[in-house]
Point group: C2
Chain length 343, copies 2
């Protein structure tokens, strides 16, 4: 075996390793009824451990349509993810498809999910919400004839629905520039789980400043994980700066709302004393008078649902990608800088 | 037929109405593979229309375990519901159960869901999140051997997990009384979809005032649907009152956050000028310095998940109910009344 490709595991191997006949192994993998549950479990476990992939032809013969779609989502108690699921669910439900929900909180969870799913083939399609799928995982799903669609994430090599993060960030920073701010900080959010992924919301900040002829000051860019408490702490750091910014661009509304709490606690009025802009249009942004760039996760979910229905019907191009436009929503948290230029 | 019981629809009736043989009807209803999809659909539709219920024995023979649980939830983009689903999902996933998600936005949706589910019997159990199930629906599910559990709602005749709404409201109102407020308004929230259901959060308000010897003034109680915008509008009405309250008890954090926006827009500081307390401890309550009564929806979901596992294992008492304690969380939006007693 000099080839770099690992040796291919066959059905015969799986049967041997599970201590059953080839017929039983095949029936277990195709989910036939006449297999004892314990036996079926053992065969599936062995198949998973050895990354066994049923041949597409065999799979197609065995599978029929399950009538089910898996939604894979890292969080559900956060508005963005819930709203995408809501939009997706309404479309899939209209098509009489059942929705299997898989919450995979961290990278290890996701790995586990993608290790297990293909051998069991419980669904016709997988929608990943707000995260990227590795190319190897995608290949395994496609080999099994399981469609994959991404919703509410970044651009992907498979069909996906997303906003243009660069454009959304440009809208936010240009708004601050148009108001006359020249000292603009950034509250940069990163996924602590995937520190390798650079933020797609940062480059537009640097480009907009450069375009406006404003030198970048890295000391007023604070990087922290997503979340309101981190936004509050980052804003505290900026307020302690010897020359604090007159405006900040926050990577999300929750980060921005945290920053606004710090301002109020410091006796400063958001907008009047220091401008804050976010990205999202979280339902509570309106209640907090936060200027933001609206993305519509429910709409992103609904479009992903329709894309998926096209794929299941054999219609859509395999690499179709849809960008949902974003728009600036001006509220009370942004205003021209105070004449002194200092909060 | 002089009996009040409607005539019972039999398998023979279903077969006749669907224009198929009895064997085919039976196979279609038991989800066997050798039935053409269109035929199966027709049989299921007829069975649904006539509220046909498979006999429990026949069902038990046909069903095995599906290994699936249905979560039925009215909203997903709202934090409370997402957090309950998250807590439930983590427990069910640990038990290797698949979660089918059904979002049923309004009462008609729910009716449709409960009309369709039993005939198809895709799941071993149903968890309803944040709403009540009619007794007739519950009976149909139980006849099919499908367990039912309620999470994050009110007390139910079936196993349920919830907070004590009366106690939570008492904690909120007593906090305002202890601070010295004697003119306390209420922002009462109602489900516009189920106006018959009286709020379980209102009686404690009246009782606490009575206990403190404070006469109730109905003109400072404003009733509106759930939601921040309604809270904002209700607060505006109270600010226009000739003798406005010095504190308000809002039925939820979103309602309270809306009220706080109205205060800020009117140039008033929450806490200092007028106290506001909510119920929830929404993640953004902390970012908005809102005093609230914490309920833990993730914990409610997890307990409901464990209760369900007990039921599936044949263990738990059929009417077990669990109350998750609530606690007051004091932040900046409440303070003693200003010496003048007027905002």
């Amino acid at each position: 075996m000099t080839d770099a490709t690992p040796p291919k595991v066959t059905l015969v191997d799986i049967a041997r390793l599970a201590g059953v006949g080839v017929g039983t192994a095949s029936r277990a993998l195709s989910n036939a009824k006449n297999v004892a549950p314990a036996t079926r479990e053992r065969v599936l476990r062995v198949a998973e451990e050895h990354h066994y992939v049923v041949s597409p032809e065999a799979s197609r013969l065995a599978k029929g349509n399950t009538g089910r779609v898996a939604l894979v989502v890292p969080h559900l108690s956060r508005w963005f993810f819930g709203a995408v699921v809501e939009g997706l669910g309404s479309v899939l439900r209209g098509a009489e498809l059942d929705v299997l929900l898989y919450q995979v909180g961290d990278v290890a969870d996701r790995q586990d999910f993608f290790d297990r799913l293909p051998a069991r083939r419980k669904v016709d399609a997988v929608v990943v919400i707000g995260f990227q799928v590795e190319e190897a995982e995608r290949t395994r799903l496609e080999t099994m004839g399981v469609h994959i669609v991404a919703a509410g994430g970044q651009w992907a090599s498979y069909p996906s629905v997303h906003i243009d993060d660069h454009e959304a960030s440009r809208q936010a920073v240009d708004h601050l520039l148009h108001l006359g701010h020249t000292r603009i900080g950034m509250l940069e959010a990163l996924d602590p789980d995937q520190p390798r992924l650079r933020s797609t919301r940062s480059p537009a900040y640097y480009e907009a400043l450069e375009r406006a002829g404003i030198p970048v000051d890295p000391s007023i860019v604070v990087t922290a994980p997503w979340g309101g408490e981190h936004g509050a702490a980052s804003m505290s750091r900026l307020l302690g700066h010897p020359d604090p910014p007159t405006a900040v661009f926050a990577h999300s509304d929750e980060v921005a709302l945290g920053a606004m709490r710090t301002l109020r606690r410091a006796g400063l009025r958001p907008g009047t004393d220091l401008s804050v802009v976010g990205i999202d249009d979280h339902p509570l942004a309106e209640l907090c008078d936060l200027t933001t760039v609206r993305q519509q996760p429910g709409e992103q979910g609904a479009i992903a649902g329709r894309l998926l229905l096209d794929l299941l019907a054999g219609g859509a191009a395999p690499h179709r990608s849809t960008t949902v436009p974003t728009e600036l929503v001006v509220r009370g948290s942004t205003a021209p800088p105070r004449p002194t230029g200092r909060p």
